[in-house]
Amino acid sequence: MKKVQTTCNYCSLSCNLDFYVENNEIVKVLPTSGYSVNDGFACIKGLNLDKQLTRHKPSPQPRIKKPDGTFEIVSWDDAISSTAKKLLEIKEKYGPESIAALSTAQMPFEEMALFSHLIRGYMKGNCDANTRLCMATSVFAHRGAFGFDAPPYALKDFEISDTIIFIGANPVVAHPAIWNRVKKSGRPERKIVVIDPRKSETAQQADYYYPLKGKSDIKLFYTLANYLIEKGWIDNNYIRSYTDGFSAFKAFVADYKLENVKAETGLEPEQVKELAELIHNGKAVSLWWTMGVNQGYEAVRTAQSIINIALMTGNIGRPGTGPNSLTGQPNAMGSRLLSNQAILPGGGDYDNIIRRAACATAMGVPDWMLPDKPTLTYNVIVEKINAGEIKALWVVHTNPRHSWTNNETFQKAMEKLDLLIVNEIYDDTDTSAACDVFFPVVPALKKEGTFINTERRLSALRPVLEREPYEHSDFEVFLKMGEALGMGELLNKWRTPRDVFNIMRQCTRGMPADFTGVDYDGIVGTKGIQWPFREGETLTDNDRRLFENGVYYTPNMRAKFVFEKPMADPLPVSKEFPYIFNTGRGTVGQWHTQTRTREIDAVQDAVSQNAYCLIHPGLASGLEIGEGDKVEITSINGESAVFEVRLTDTVQEGEIFAPIHYLETNKLTPSVYDPISKEPSYKTTPVNLRKVG
């Protein structure tokens, strides 16, 4: 029996799994023992990766929608050449910016890079990714504070930290393999703190829980900062030696007084004092945030308000500390670093001539092949489709008809497009079901490449199953499409995932995320390697954190206190929409839009088949709503949808929570974005509700 160690492509932990294979069939799946992230444990999704494409199997050949609306299965060659022709026609007729793509953090970075090479480099179209829905906020927060998008931690810090503060993070459900490490390492004095409007599963397990009002975290952290300063509970030496902008920050937060905190956040002054004491008494305090922070209308500044707490108390660059963003997708870091969407591969803005030259050389292309500006963002792409400016969209392994905020706008976009191409493993997702060109690519179990996880760890994806001759990976589809589009020798250095890995590695040389010391084959079967790891270096520690020397990536090598006066809520509750609609993961077993996890019986037996929402019994009784009733929720965005009711006091009285795994949920979320990161504000939508059954 053959054993293949590979990377799980569900969440951002990128656990490693051992697949045991006989006669090209998976016999069993076990978590890789000794792997840095998940040493011998994995959640139910990863352990059931073998169920992919066992129940829902598309035709192995591409599917084209004919002018009369019917579908036809065609050969790969025909599908690629006709689609290339169509793309070139659209480009010719409407200009390069009429072509756009939505990529993914669910595939190896080699494929992302090649995809951008086509769309951004050659076609001069736009290409954003579902990372925009996920960790774009953290990217901008890191860049502002550290000078580079650099999550500073190792997941091992969970085991070392004596004060773990989760903000808008629910690892019990979102990152089970990590929660397991948190629990396992528990020392008697270790404190777990959760800050979240909802008494999430993690909050229920916390030693301290602070139920603040949705999107009031920024005010809480400014108030907390002020109180820490007043008490003198700050690390003046660290501030003086390694940071910039503290005195302005100090002056700024002076207005954030304890006596106002109740009105601003819903928390009592005593609770803020208690939290401050916990931070003061902790020897290794870590602050972890996830989508509760990232998906907001002023998310970047909120994330930076967390970073500020870590900086001012010296809780960074030491074991068990850090302002740490846990992200959502397995190759989020690969996407951020190498997808050539918002920055040059490996880092650097598009007007940085030194970086342009380095990248062009590494990529074996002339300078004109590099984009000259960041991509239009996801929201703008959707808007421009609906405005008739973007005519062709290529969607790769993401399901925006379901996951995009205010998702009816994407339905309209799909109808508006001249050409919708989808790469997917399923032909029946909300996005792929009616698309013009469907490419049935193989799942990650049959692909190779590299992932970079939330803690900057590179790990290898290797094929578990052999492919049939007619089966195509995304890489091959992109390559053939590139050829059909006429890229010719621009693809010379891009023939295989290994080629692209080596290009990307070269692009990182001398940059913060330099991984020139990582070998494409050498990483296979290892515990994964975090960046930076430079050529010639020897790996002495599998779990490394950044900034241990206090040197940051800013021009003056100091971390920056970044802050701004909180803005008014762009969509406040009103008489017409008096309740807050919050969203998030519902269960461990359900992944995002459930395209893959619908195939896992163990999951399907354990989850609701219908959209549901959590409502506080107090609110429900006032509206004569009971457990199991159906309610229609009407959103400020003009849409409404029906949900089954589950009564629970884990939500606040004016708050309704709905899991993201059902199409109904993002029907109700608004077209509101953080002004900097353009990440959607998924968490606080004003709504109303009424009982319908």
Binding site: I44, P176, E201, T587, A602, D605, A606, V607
Partner: protein
């Protein structure tokens, strides 16, 4: 046969379920798969018609139907622990135990076509049920103590 009128055997522990605490994370199923070499899980969590997450675990019954239905002696009561243990080598894959289990917790093991049966992790190096160890919510516990 009435459970109350029989002479109960001594048993060194039983899985006790607190359904109100279960969040349906399936961590118990993962733990079971992992601690039994990738074999099909011996426990399950299902959602009821009223949408309540319900962990279903082998109860090492006082009246173990799986032992009554087993025609090969594979399902047997271990004299040392009182657990109902399963001997795959002795098993004839007749699935009578699957039919007999009133909780519907027994299943076919996808790897060898035999039975997935909780062994209270007596075979695990950690020595206690790993589902209990890994439950984030404390919804499952081992109830110790000797039955009268």
């Amino acid at each position: 046969m009435n459970r109350d009128t029989i002479k109960k055997r001594e048993i060194s522990g039983r899985i006790k379920v607190d359904r109100d605490k279960c969040i349906g994370c399936l961590g118990c199923m993962s733990a079971c798969i992992v601690s039994h070499d990738g074999h099909s899980p011996r426990n399950r969590v299902v959602i009821s018609s009223d949408k309540v997450s319900s962990p279903i675990f082998c109860q090492n019954c006082d009246l173990p139907e799986c032992t009554y239905t087993c025609m090969c002696g594979a399902m047997h009561i271990d004299p040392a622990t009182g657990f109902v243990l399963y001997d795959a080598d002795q098993c004839g894959s007749c699935y009578m135990c699957v039919m007999g289990c009133p909780y519907g917790v027994l299943r076919m093991n996808k790897i060898d076509g035999k039975i997935s049966k909780c062994d209270m992790c007596v075979s695990d190096r950690n020595g206690q049920p790993q589902c209990v160890d890994r439950c984030p919510m404390g919804a499952i516990a081992v109830e110790r103590g000797v039955q009268a």
